[in-house]
């Protein structure tokens, strides 16, 4: 019995240290500056992100604001902090990590994604946060929602489960950038068009939504309060805020229409109260051309290029910035 228990402990410890060593190695390489997934995180956590215009939002922000174009028009350093699939309550992880460690921007473009205002019940695409799960911002924002956090801390490699290929691609990307999406200061270029099969699926979803008109607006409380807290922070620190509802394909406008109208009225009130610019592009001419989208709510490279020009010109035209 004694021999067995000793062997069991010895083997368990050995395997624990091996797997722990592997985890540390992966963490180390994923946190490298040239890893495409954690490129932005690396800049944020090392305090190297010096930008004058910061763009904050979900995957829509990530895909819609071409930093190069905005930068060339405004002459200001621009960085896109958009993070995919993130509800606004979780957007605080990125926002707080950024402002706590880096120089404050002059302008904040807060991209609005009505689909992401819902209170989070789970964390989407956790891989985007790896290997930075130990940050204070991550812990405080996801407390009570990320139920795996403790296990992921105790069991080595557990946080990488089901991400074998993502880790592989990230590690490969260190030497070969072809494994990454084109990423220019956080802007992810999607040089693709909307495939017919996905378009048909989208039409089916629209059909289903027609029967569903009522929404519980209370479930958006956390998202809206996050927006308010960001605005208040910017107000205090003299950061100019633009609330922008970027384009989505016109056929999707009917989708969750009641909800959208409600959110729009809240945002209008907020902008009036706080004297900030609120621009709703959801009925812009861009919305009526399918060629500018790769799905109903995301513009492709063509759409993003035109839209980014509009945003850049808007900033110049509004003549808010004092050089």
């Amino acid at each position: 019995m004694k021999k067995f228990i000793l062997k069991l402990i010895k083997t368990t410890l050995l395997l624990y240290f091996i797997t722990f060593g592997i985890e540390l190695t992966i963490d180390f390489y994923l946190a490298k500056e040239n890893s495409c997934n954690t490129n932005t995180w690396h800049k944020i956590y090392s305090g190297k992100l010096k930008t004058e215009i910061a763009i904050l939002g979900t995957s829509r922000a990530e895909a819609h604001y071409d930093t190069e174009i905005i930068s060339s028009i405004t002459g200001l350093k621009t960085y896109n902090l958009g993070i995919s699939g993130t509800h606004y309550d979780f957007l605080n992880i990125r926002w707080k990590s950024f402002i706590n460690r880096n120089k404050k921007p002059k302008v904040l473009i807060l991209d609005l994604d009505p689909g992401a205002l819902k209170n989070s019940t789970e964390l989407y695409g956790k891989f985007q946060y790896l290997p930075y799960l130990n940050s204070a911002e991550y812990k405080s924002v996801t407390k009570g929602i990320d139920s795996d956090y403790l296990f992921e801390k105790i069991i080595p490699l557990y946080k990488y489960r089901a991400y074998e290929m993502s880790v592989y691609k990230q590690l490969k990307s260190l030497k070969n950038p072809k494994y990454c999406h084109k990423n220019v200061n956080g802007y992810i270029e999607h040089d693709i068009s909307w495939i017919e099969r996905d378009y048909k699926k989208f039409k089916k979803i629209l059909q289903k939504d027609k029967a569903h008109k009522e929404y519980d607006l209370n479930i958006f409380s956390q998202g809206l309060s996050t927006i308010n807290s960001i605005i208040e922070y910017c107000e205090k620190h003299n950061i100019q805020v633009y609330l922008i509802w970027s384009p989505s394909y016109y056929e999707s406008h009917e989708y969750q229409l009641t909800l959208k109208k409600h959110i729009d009225s809240i945002l209008k009130k907020t902008s009036n109260k706080k004297h900030i610019k609120y621009l709703n592009y959801s009925k812009d001419s861009l919305c009526y051309d399918k060629n500018y989208f790769y799905n109903s709510s995301h513009m492709n490279k063509n759409g993003a290029t035109l839209f980014s020009k509009k945003v850049g010109e808007l900033i110049i035209e509004s003549n808010i910035l004092v050089q």
Binding site: F4, K7, I18, T19, I155, P156, Y158, R161, E164
Partner: protein, 486 residues
């Protein structure tokens, strides 16, 4: 309680400590601990199930005692039939009541008369088919005089409810397992290590192979009309691995856990997918059930030592009953019939007893001839699994039709594979097959004695890979085992 759950990870060490460090001086106390632990383990699903297992245990215990006292042949036979009727009655009611009712109604409506009978909403107690067969083996063996009936109710309860194999086998014979409850158990170092290895490999099979395959299999079988022929073949092949990983993984954990408590259970799987014909496959797949049917159904019917006509009838009976044992659905009956049809040619040309030794015992790689036979046998079993996995016979036929008629045969793009990369699964499957093949002559994987440093390092490399694969494949929720439903 599932083997692949946190609950079990807490439960097992507690029971292990109590068993070896608290109750180790008293055999009765150890058996009582097993009974209590087993009832807790079983009641974790639904405490109401406990009444059924308790009732079944009590009846067979009393009938066993009755058989020991009774000398009159007719009365002994009555006692045996009482046990069979009770056990199969329970099984029939919980598992087959609605099936027979539905078919009854369909048959009547086919002949033009509509009858109205209400089906019942019955919860199928987990593992009922397994412990029913186990207790039946006790009564039959006592009746046949192969086993002395036990007077120790605790030992008998422990035998029926022994938690490692209670819900999905191996279906133990009373002659093998029951006597182990009468003797003092020791934990030998080699047995305990072998048990741990088997548990580790069982977890790999379940979590890495079965659960990962199931993501693709469920999607492909549920939406088979959307997929190309090659994707459907991929789904069927992955299901073959899923069911093997799931069920043999469970058996490995059960046998390994039993070893930790000083018990020796029978083997249930011996690398079945390396079989060279269907007869060999059935000697290596779900051995405890196959031998149960052989000993208690096939041989009493006359087996093969009868006229050819009757022998063929017996083969069909045993395979169809085996199919029906899996569930109240025509799909299982067709699955059983297909296997009988596969088996028949080798029986007729008297080749069903070939390949009794493991594949290519002295060489690492199989010969080309054997490889072809292995692939052929695997294809046949995979084809039969389509019926086993499909919800209805219609679905199975449409699935098969889809393989041959779908356009874009070679387009493997599926909804799930679009989101999830299937490549890690292929790496795991390759590793799984290599290990399964390498240790095909051993009872337990990783059990080859290694003396050289290189082989020890290699062994630890394999352990590490296994552990990492398990960690990386854990799903957010523990998944149930397929065979729990049977």
């Amino acid at each position: 309680m599932l083997f692949n759950s946190i609950d079990f990870a807490v439960f097992l060490p507690i029971v292990f400590i109590l068993y070896w460090f608290v109750t180790n001086k008293n055999l009765k106390l150890q058996n009582l601990l097993i009974v209590l632990a087993s009832f807790l383990f079983y009641g974790w699903w639904d405490f109401r199930f406990l009444t059924l297992i308790f009732f079944s245990t009590t009846i067979d215990y009393l009938i066993g005692l009755g058989l020991s006292k009774e000398q009159d042949k007719t009365k002994r036979k009555i006692l045996l039939w009482v046990s069979i009727c009770f056990n199969l009655g329970f099984l029939g009611f919980f598992k087959y009541y609605n099936f027979f009712l539905d078919n009854f109604i369909s048959a009547f409506s086919f002949f033009g008369s509509d009858i109205k009978l209400n089906s019942l909403s019955i919860i199928l107690p987990v593992g009922i088919s397994f412990y029913t067969f186990q207790t039946l083996s006790y009564t039959i063996d006592v009746y046949k005089g192969k086993l002395n009936p036990t007077k120790d109710f605790i030992a008998f309860s422990a035998f029926v409810s022994f938690f490692p194999q209670l819900v999905a086998g191996p279906i133990e014979r009373a002659t093998n397992l029951l006597p182990q409850f009468y003797t003092k158990r020791n934990l030998k170092y080699s047995t305990a290590i072998s048990g741990m290895r088997q548990i580790l490999w069982g977890l790999f099979k379940k979590i890495v192979i079965a659960d990962t395959c199931s993501i693709y299999v469920d999607d492909i079988f549920q939406n088979y009309t959307n997929y190309s022929g090659s994707a459907l073949i991929l789904g069927a092949v992955l299901f073959s691995f899923q069911i093997y990983g799931d069920f043999s993984g469970y058996s490995d954990i059960a046998i390994g856990t039993s070893k930790l408590f000083g018990f020796n259970l029978m083997d249930n799987f011996k690398t079945p997918y390396f079989s060279r014909n269907i007869a060999e496959f059935w000697r290596r797949w779900h051995i405890s059930l196959s031998t149960w049917f052989r000993d208690y159904v096939y041989i009493p019917l006359g087996g093969s030592r009868t006229s050819k006509k009757l022998a063929i009838r017996n083969i069909f009976i045993i395979f169809i009953v085996s199919g029906f044992w899996h569930g109240a659905n025509w799909t299982y009956i067709i699955w059983g019939t297909l296997n009988a049809l596969y088996f028949l040619p080798s029986f007729l040309i008297k080749k069903n007893k070939t390949h009794r030794t493991p594949n290519n015992i002295h060489t690492f790689l199989p010969s080309i001839k054997d490889l072809i036979k292995i692939l052929y046998t695997f294809s046949l079993t995979t084809f039969a699994w389509i019926f086993f996995r499909s919800k209805t016979v219609f679905d199975a036929l449409q699935f098969i039709k889809g393989i041959f008629t779908s356009s874009n045969f070679f387009k493997i793009q599926t909804a799930k594979t679009y989101i999830l990369d299937i490549r890690p699964l292929f790496i795991y499957l390759t590793f799984f097959l290599i290990i399964d093949w390498y240790y095909r002559h051993e009872d337990v994987v990783f059990n080859k004695s290694s003396t050289s440093k290189i082989s020890k390092i290699f062994k630890y490399f394999v352990y590490t890979f296994t552990v990492i694969s398990i960690i990386l494949s854990i799903k957010n929720q523990s998944t149930s085992f397929i065979y729990f439903q049977f």
